[in-house]
């Protein structure tokens, strides 16, 4: 026989518990690192492809790589691959799966504020990017070495704005797409062209004119330039940085308004 021991609510002593947002962030981070899709696309894929691509062009300075060591050129580029993987694949699939399976309804019924879920996804995405970036640099360091950072402020600003922007886009896609399968399909369709043309593929100098023109305006290209150029001292990338900051602000506002439990 089951019985439910209860105490009258009025006599119950409140105890200290974390805020709803903090509880959600804690749970979401734990879930994220258990997710095979995250482990594959955000952690393993960028590291493996970086190891292959960065070693494919030798170590001699090359005009196609702004007269730099191609390996260093790629190491400085690949942090944005995990930003794109988080924003275009991991988060949309994760959030759409939550909607599809009724997890969001359960959160709503339990009284989690709408913004708390958005904040939790933003925090989880950023934490994932930071950890995955650290893993990538830790792997790159003994193999190719990590190039010295020329302008820390600009690099950090570019990474932060790019991460916030892509995470917000991920939340937006997750809130618009109705199933995990459609989110995965759309996410992969957006990710791979961005990856190949904007960050982890061949350098723009070896692309044909048409592809170079397309690549130039991809959001991931802007983020990559905002990070790579001040990192390697090949430019300030002020234009791309401003564009990335504006895109991040717009994406954050739109996804915060659109996100619904």
């Amino acid at each position: 026989m089951t019985s439910v021991a209860t105490t009258a609510p009025s006599t119950a002593l409140p105890r200290r518990v974390a805020s709803a947002t903090r509880r959600l962030i804690t749970a979401e981070i734990k879930l994220m690192i258990r997710d095979p899709l995250t482990l594959t696309f955000v952690f393993a894929f960028p590291v493996v492809t970086m190891l292959i691509i960065a070693g494919s062009f030798g170590r001699d300075p090359d005009p196609a790589f702004d007269h730099l060591d191609p390996a260093h050129w790629y190491v400085a580029s690949y942090l944005t691959v995990m930003i794109a993987a988080t924003g275009l694949i991991m988060l949309p699939v994760h959030i759409a799966a939550y909607r599809e399976r009724g997890v969001l309804r359960r959160f709503a019924a339990a009284g989690f504020p709408r913004w708390s879920f958005f904040a939790a996804q933003l925090a989880t995405g950023l934490v994932t990017i930071v950890v995955a970036g650290a893993v990538l640099l830790a792997v790159a360091a003994p193999v190719y070495g990590v190039p010295a950072v020329d302008s820390w402020c600009r690099v950090v600003l570019g990474l932060a704005a790019g991460a916030v922007g892509f995470v917000s886009v991920g939340v937006l896609l997750g809130s618009v797409l109705r199933s995990a399968r459609s989110a995965q399909a759309i996410g992969l369709l957006l990710f791979f062209p961005s990856f190949l043309l904007g960050s982890g593929g061949p350098p723009p100098q070896v692309m044909g004119a048409a592809l170079r023109n397309i690549a130039e305006y991809l959001p991931l290209t802007l983020v990559t330039r905002a990070v790579r150029e001040p990192w390697l001292g090949i430019g300030n990338a002020t234009g791309p940085l401003i564009a990335v900051v504006l895109l991040a602000a717009a994406a954050t506002v739109v996804s915060a308004r659109r996100m619904a439990l």
Partner: protein, 321 residues
């Protein structure tokens, strides 16, 4: 506790809740019953503020579920139909995620629902019954004033079902108000103080389960073997108040088989007649309808062509509302 007036909700032009009024008083266990697609779940989703009604008003503990959701939801405990937790979330992590400052000791609840050994288990590894029990634990965790249980025992084996029923009975004893959505009519009959029958988005009738049964399926059937003259007893029974028909069939070599059908009072009338004749049949059987029979008759009456003077719908809905 819950006051709903004129609630309407349509999806893409199809009305799923149509002018529903309902009241749930503090401390009551009220069931919403009806077939799939009757509008039960949409109604409780509007009550919880998970859906925006097209028109009508909803008040729960005096609050508007949409405009005052932040104040209301901590006072509600919900077990939702067709919802889940993340597959890789463990039971203890789910408790930590959903527990507020009002939460009771989770270990006690987990033990009471047979989940204490599954504390470290991932939601995805749990059986359907275990998941339902975990949802109940989460619904009760924060000492809610109103508990909404949608398809409470779906997927539970009979033993687990009984345990969950006992837990709901305990909620009644503690004075917690429960709104139970179900199409398991034995569950509604066993647990609810009142039930609200819905069909096609409308409330057909409401009242205590026994009242609904009496109102919509007030018949009884008495069967027994009779060793003597069938004609004389049959004639007597046909003149007995409440008897509608008497059937006499060949039974055994020694006795014929009587079936007396009529209003509920025929049970007493037939019993009295048999006692008067100093014969207590060993094979005496009484058949009375349950809530399921009442609902079926109510639904059939609702779908039948209108019969103004005797329609149970027009006669009875107002009686309890």
């Amino acid at each position: 506790m819950v006051v709903v007036r004129g609630l309407r909700k349509a999806y893409g032009g199809r009305t799923v809740v149509d002018n529903v009024d309902l009241d749930v008083r503090s401390g009551e266990i009220v069931g919403i019953i009806g077939a799939n697609g009757a509008g039960k779940t949409t109604t409780v989703e509007c009550i919880q503020g998970l859906r925006r009604p097209d028109s009508g008003s909803v008040r729960v503990v005096g609050l508007d579920p949409l405009r005052q959701a932040d104040q209301l939801r901590p006072q509600l405990g919900s077990q939702l139909q067709d919802s889940a937790l993340p597959d890789r979330l463990r039971v203890d992590e789910a408790i930590a995620l959903f527990a507020t400052a009002r939460a009771r000791r989770a270990d006690e609840l987990l033990a009471q629902f047979g989940l204490i050994e599954r504390r470290r288990s991932a939601f995805g590894s749990m059986s359907g019954g275990e998941r339902q029990r975990l949802f109940l634990v989460l619904a009760l965790l924060n000492r809610p004033r109103l508990v909404i249980l949608d398809e409470l025992t779906q997927g539970l084996d009979p033993a687990a079902r009984r345990d969950v029923w006992a837990a709901v009975e305990q909620l009644r004893a503690d004075g917690t108000t429960v709104l139970l959505v179900t199409h398991e009519l034995d569950e509604a009959e066993a647990l609810c103080d009142r039930v609200i029958a819905m069909r096609a988005g409308r409330v057909l009738d409401s009242g205590a389960p026994a009242t609904l049964v009496a109102r919509h399926a007030g018949w009884a059937k008495v069967r027994f073997g009779w060793p003597g003259s069938a004609d004389e007893l049959r004639a007597t029974l046909l003149t007995t108040p409440g008897v509608q028909y008497v059937a006499v069939d060949t039974g055994t070599i020694d006795a014929v088989q009587f079936t007396v059908h009529g209003e509920r009072q025929v049970i007493a009338q037939v019993g009295a007649e048999l006692v008067r004749r100093d014969h207590i049949p060993a094979d005496l059987r009484v058949e009375v309808p349950d809530l399921e029979s009442a609902l079926i008759e109510l639904l059939e009456a609702d779908s039948a062509p209108p019969c103004p003077a005797t329609s149970p719908t027009t006669d009875l809905i107002g009686a309890d509302r």
